[in-house]
Amino acid sequence: MFTPLDRIFSIIAGWIDQNAILPILYHFGWMEWEELSFDWMLICVYGVFALLVTYAICWPLEALRPIERWSSRKAVLPDIFYTVLARVGVLPIVSFLVFYQVQVWVNGFVVDHGYIPPMLETLIPPLLGHPVLTFLAYALILDCSDYWRHRLSHSFRGWYALHALHHAQRQMSFWSDDRNHLLDDLIGALWFGVVALAIGIPPLQFPLLLMFMRFVESLSHANVRLSFGWLGDRLLVSPRFHRIHHGLLAAGRVSCNYGAVFPIWDMIFGTADFSDAWPATGDRNAPEAMVSGGYLAQQWGGLTHAWGQMRAGHAKRKAARRQARPLSS
């Protein structure tokens, strides 16, 4: 369906792999990763392309129909750093290598115990041979699983303190999607890993479809007065829909509009808010380091905030128990 573009990207990725990556792997004695290195280069090449397209579409939109006008865009800089780390493939590749052995151990363990992780097409045989349909089915299921991960992250004090890094941004733009705490990312990866054991990994032969979904997520954070209309807002997460999730009142343990790509899960599970509102974004409880610090300050701030919140929660539960005791005795 996108063959000419895909071939150009393969050739670029192959050229980089052959001329830069393979010699490096060879030099350092890491050739066991040679087969995967081509896939990594594909991730990088598609990632750069997707970033350029996202920028080319979102920047004019933000310039033409901004919700807020900022005197300084300095607070956006760390968000750009988060985006490049995540989208150009640095974070995915590094985390793949870091967790490779864990993944091997878990998969080996379940196989040894007689469980071979199925794919969606082996669970629903008519899907085999219809990769686009399969991809869409995976996209829906994984989006649903992500809805629950996100909703749960808002329900636990310590977990939300990590996720507050995503909410802390007061100058929310299309760069803000990947602004996450590394530990929160790690929980997300484990969450996905468990789902993958149950239904397998989605087919990866449609990187452009995947890019489109990531684009929707970027656009949903854009500082642009844009809704997709009554029906459109119910089909795909729009900037208006996701901005309500980032509103000051929605930052915390009671929130709405948790969906990342499809609003349908919010509609089904009763958390959708389609109001025509453009609230200011941010989280008043987040320490300033998580709001306006640099990348490292935000990560460290997230850790201390989460630790403080967990201790506060513990103290609160203890106090509640103490109060309950005289009543019961």
């Binding site: 895909d6 071939r7 192959g14 066991e32 081509f38 082996t122 990994i201 990866l204």
Partner: protein
């Protein structure tokens, strides 16, 4: 275990003893000569197999797999082509004569597969999950799952079917497995990232991809008795059906090297221009069909002139099977073409 068959009936993975004794079904060789010549290309990055008409060089059809088809094996009765899909945890069956789907079965992470020459054993290397599985070929009964090193990659057998040889990409070893006892016989440390393995002229050849040579080993002891320098990062090796040329692909160098199979001296080097040459197969006209990983193409190379044409396939073409091989008597494996 019955096999899930997309045509709606159950088949067994059995091989008739008559076929084993004769190597070919009666009349099959004559029949194979009248076949439409087709190439099967396993597109690892596209989760499908391209079936190409070798005469017109047009893609006839694209057969779906699950995630990542890589390599193939042909059972001794040649009734079907087996294609492994490690990412999809499955083994796919195709009709090598017609290019039609014949169903699939679940298998954990099969990356490289092969039948022992006597047809008794079917072996699968699980590169990702670090084990080697030994199956009874007649009914796919799992005899043993062995952990003998990290990242088992390529495999081959001794001609008497007593021993299989497996390269361990991560451990840097070559492991010989005694098939009757289902236990390792020896483990040889041969260098960084060993890859393609071939039993040849009473020796085992193993490409050492993290270095610039092919190691020559004594199959009885696992002792290294020689090294052939072929170029940087040798990946796999293939013997032509006339047994007159041994080809080696160099992954880092991006080249194809022709060796004299008797002396193992380098005869000629073909540059393939950063195209990521992977598996290859030899057509009856002597041309080499080579999967070009980075180009989404198959090259058809004339080894005399060194020129090649290309055919567009799917992303990351990996293994390649030509059904013209069905007309040849004897053993057909991915390395002994």
């Amino acid at each position: 275990m019955p096999v899930l068959d997309r045509r709606g009936f159950l088949t067994q993975a059995g091989i008739s003893t008559a076929a084993l004794a004769g190597g070919l079904r009666p009349g099959r060789a004559a029949h194979a000569a009248a076949l439409r010549p087709m190439a099967f290309v396993m597109n690892s990055g596209a989760a499908n197999v391209s079936v190409i008409d070798m005469t017109t060089r047009k893609v006839l059809r694209t057969l779906p797999t699950l995630r990542e088809p890589s390599h193939w094996a042909l059972p001794p009765d040649r009734s079907r082509l087996l294609v492994c899909d490690a990412g999809g945890n499955a083994l796919f069956y195709f009709d090598p004569e017609t290019g039609q789907e014949m169903g699939h079965r679940v298998m954990a992470d099969p990356y490289q597969i092969g039948y022992s020459p006597d047809g008794r054993y079917f072996l699968a290397n699980a590169l990702r999950l670090n084990f080697v599985e030994i199956y009874r070929a007649s009914d796919f009964h799992l005899i043993k799952r062995l952990s003998v090193g990290g990242m088992p990659s390529h495999l081959d057998f001794s001609p008497d079917s007593r021993v299989s040889f497996h390269s361990m990409q991560q451990s840097g070893t070559l492991v010989a497995i005694d098939l009757a006892r289902a236990e390792p016989r020896w483990t040889a440390k041969i260098g960084k990232v060993p890859a393609g393995v071939l039993y040849h002229n009473g020796k085992v050849l193993c490409c050492v991809m993290g270095a610039n040579y092919v190691a020559v080993l004594d199959p009885a002891s696992g002792e290294i008795v020689g090294r052939i320098h072929t170029g940087i990062g040798p990946h796999n090796l293939f013997l032509t059906p006339d047994r007159k040329t041994l080809y080696v692909t160099n992954r880092v160098g991006g080249t194809l090297v022709a060796l004299d199979p008797a002396t193992l001296a380098v005869r000629r080097t073909y540059p393939l221009h950063a195209s990521g040459p992977d598996d290859l197969a030899v057509a009856p006209d002597g041309k080499l069909w080579i999967a070009l990983r980075f180009r989404e193409q198959v090259a058809v190379l004339d080894p005399v002139s060194g020129h090649y044409d290309t055919i567009d396939v799917g992303r990351s073409p990996h293994g390649i099977f030509l059904n013209t091989m069905l007309a040849r008597p004897g053993l057909v494996t991915a390395e002994m073409l």
